[in-house]
C-alpha cells in the first residue's frame, strides 16, 4: 500500500510519519505517532474528544486528513503542560473535580485553552457556547464550566 510521507510539527517538535491517504489526522496522531491522549468519540465532528489546534486554530482532528498536516504546527493534550508544570486549566480541572471518566477531558482542555487564548475573561455563556461541541456525559458540565472560569480568573491575575 502506498503511503504519503508527512513532515509536520507536533507540540513544538518536528516529526515525520507515513500516512495512508485515508488516515485522519486523529489516526495519524494516535496510531502513527502514539499520541493517544487525543480521543475518538464519534468520528463525525460531533463530540470534540479529538480536539487539537492546527496553526493555532481549534479543529476536530477526525475531520482533517493526516496528509493535510504537512508543514503545519499541531498542538495536542500531550503538549499542554510545560514539562512537569501543569497548565492552570489542567490544575483547575483536577481541583474542581471537573472530570469523572476523563475521556472527554483532553479535548475539553485543548478547546478551553484555545478559548482563553482568544478571550481571557469569558462569561459563563461564552464558555458554554464555545464548548458546545465538546460532549461530556458524566459531569453535566457544571464543574467543567466552573474550572474554566476559575482558570481564566487565575490566569488574568497572574498576567
Amino acid at each position: 500500500m502506498s503511503k504519503v510521507h508527512v513532515s509536520t510539527t507536533v507540540n513544538g517538535e518536528p516529526v515525520e510519519f507515513l500516512a495512508d491517504t485515508r488516515d485522519t489526522l486523529l489516526d495519524s496522531l494516535r496510531d502513527s505517532l502514539g499520541l493517544t491522549g487525543t480521543k475518538e468519540g464519534c468520528g463525525t465532528g460531533d463530540c470534540g474528544a479529538c480536539s487539537v489546534t492546527v496553526d493555532g486554530t481549534l479543529v476536530c482532528s477526525c475531520l482533517m486528513l493526516g496528509v493535510e498536516a504537512q508543514g503545519k504546527k499541531i498542538e495536542t493534550i500531550e503538549g499542554m503542560a510545560n514539562g512537569a508544570e501543569l497548565h492552570p486549566l489542567q490544575r483547575k480541572f483536577i481541583e474542581h473535580a471537573a472530570l469523572q471518566c476523563g475521556f472527554c477531558t483532553p479535548g475539553i482542555l485543548v478547546a478551553s485553552k484555545a478559548l482563553l487564548e482568544k478571550n481571557n475573561n469569558p462569561t459563563e455563556e461564552q464558555v458554554r457556547y464555545w464548548l458546545a461541541g465538546n460532549l461530556c456525559r458524566c459531569t453535566g458540565y457544571d464543574k467543567i464550566i466552573r474550572a474554566v472560569m476559575d482558570a481564566a480568573a487565575e490566569m488574568r491575575g497572574a498576567a
Binding site: M1, S2, V4, D20, T21, R22, T24, G43, T44, G45, D46, G48, S51, V54, T57, L58, V59, C60, C62, L63, M64, L65, V67, E68, A111, A114, L115, Y129, W130, L131, A132, G133, N134
Partner: protein, 343 residues
C-alpha cells in the same frame, strides 16, 4: 443479486451517514447506491488492482485550472477537499471512499477575504467560518451571512468549515446558504473552459446534489456591496442550542429608506428539497414599514411557500408553523439592523 447483496450491509451505513451529513433524502442515497454499485462491479473484476486502488489519490494542486483538470481527467469518485467537515464524515462512515481527493487549500488566494472595487466581498473557497466571524468589515456589512456560517457545527468545525463546502454539500438545511441567497451572492465556478458567475440560488439541485458539472469547482463566492440602509439576518430553529441541523432556517436581507422597506430578499432553509428564494415573501414587506399587516402577509407568504417533509427532525406541520415564526423574528432583526439599531 450479488451486487445488491454485497451492498446491502453497506447500504444502511450510507443512508445513515448522509442523513448525518446533510439531512438528506432518498434522492441522495439512491444516487450514491448506484455510484457504489458501479464501483463494486469494478471492484469485483479487478480485485487486486482495486485493492491498492482503495487507497485514495490525494492531490494538492496550486491553481484552480489544475484542480479542474485533475477532476476532469479522474475516472472514479472525485471529491474536492476544502474544510473537509462533510467529506471526511462521509469517508469515516464508509459512505464514500473517493478514488481522487483534490485539496484546494494550497491554491493562492483561497484563504483570503478581499474587497471588490465597488465594496463587495470576495470570499475564497477555503475561508473558514472562524475567519469570517473575525472579519470586522464583513460582519458589519453582512451580519446575517456571518450568522449563518457561524451556526454550522461546533467551534472546532468553524475552524475548517467553508461557505463553498456548505453550499456544494447540497443540504436543504445548510445554515450558510439562505443568507447567501438573500444577499444575492454569486459563486465563481471554474472549469477547463474558464470561469463563470452563478447566482447561489441556482446551485443547489436537491438534497446532496448541486448543479455543477464534472470538473466544475467553485473558486470563491462574491457578496455584493452592502447598500446604505441595508440589513440582513439569519435564524434557524433547532431542538438544542448548538450542534444541530436546522429544522427550519430563514434569512432576510432588506434595505430601508427612512422607515420604508425599499427592497428585500427572503430565503428559506429546510422547508423544501433545496434552499428557496421566496419573492412573494419579499413583496409582502417591500413598501411597508414592517407593520403588523406586513408581518402577517410575510408569515402567510413564507408559510405558503414552504413545502416541507416530515422527518426525524420535525413534522411538516411543525416546519410550516415555525417558518412563519422565524420569518417574523428575522424580518424584525434585519429591519432593525437596516435602521442602524444595534441587535
Amino acid at each position: 443479486m450479488s451486487v445488491s447483496a454485497l451492498l446491502t450491509p453497506w447500504f444502511q451505513r450510507r443512508c445513515v451517514s448522509f442523513v448525518l451529513v446533510c439531512g438528506s433524502t432518498i434522492a441522495l442515497w439512491v444516487d450514491l447506491h448506484l455510484t457504489f454499485g458501479q464501483r463494486k462491479c469494478i471492484h469485483k473484476e479487478h480485485r487486486f488492482q482495486k485493492l491498492q486502488g482503495i487507497c485514495m489519490n490525494y492531490h494538492s494542486p496550486s491553481s484552480f485550472a489544475d484542480a479542474a483538470r485533475i477532476a476532469a481527467q479522474a475516472t472514479g469518485i472525485t471529491r474536492y477537499l476544502a474544510g473537509g467537515t462533510d467529506v471526511l464524515v462521509q469517508m469515516r462512515a464508509g459512505a464514500v471512499t473517493p478514488d481522487d481527493i483534490i485539496d484546494i487549500k494550497n491554491i493562492a488566494g483561497v484563504h483570503d477575504i478581499s474587497r471588490t472595487a465597488d465594496g463587495g466581498f470576495v470570499i475564497g473557497a477555503a475561508v473558514s467560518g472562524a475567519q469570517m466571524g473575525a472579519h470586522a468589515d464583513l460582519c458589519a456589512a453582512w451580519p446575517g451571512v456571518v450568522e449563518g456560517i457561524e451556526l454550522v457545527g461546533s467551534t472546532q468545525v468553524q475552524g475548517r468549515a467553508t461557505l463553498t463546502g456548505n453550499l456544494c454539500n447540497g443540504s436543504p438545511a445548510a445554515d450558510s446558504v439562505p443568507g447567501l441567497v438573500a444577499a444575492g451572492a454569486v459563486a465563481q465556478v471554474v472549469n477547463a473552459s474558464g470561469t463563470r458567475d452563478v447566482p447561489i440560488e441556482d446551485i443547489p439541485a436537491g438534497p446532496g446534489r448541486a448543479n455543477l458539472a464534472k470538473g466544475d469547482v467553485i473558486a470563491s463566492i462574491t457578496l455584493p456591496a452592502r447598500a446604505t440602509g441595508g440589513g440582513d439576518a439569519y435564524m434557524r430553529f433547532t431542538p438544542r442550542t448548538e450542534m444541530d441541523i436546522a429544522v427550519v432556517g430563514c434569512s432576510i436581507s432588506l434595505t430601508v429608506d427612512g422607515d420604508t422597506i425599499t427592497s428585500a430578499r427572503v430565503a428559506l432553509g429546510a422547508v423544501a428539497p433545496t434552499v428557496v428564494l421566496v419573492p412573494t415573501a419579499a413583496d409582502a414587506i417591500i413598501g411597508t414599514s414592517l407593520d403588523d399587516a406586513a408581518i402577517d402577509a410575510l408569515v402567510a407568504a413564507v408559510t405558503a411557500a414552504a413545502k416541507p417533509i416530515s422527518d426525524k427532525r420535525g413534522s411538516a406541520e411543525f416546519r410550516k408553523d415555525v417558518v412563519g415564526v422565524l420569518a417574523k423574528r428575522v424580518a424584525k432583526k434585519a429591519y432593525a439592523r437596516a435602521k442602524g439599531e444595534a441587535v
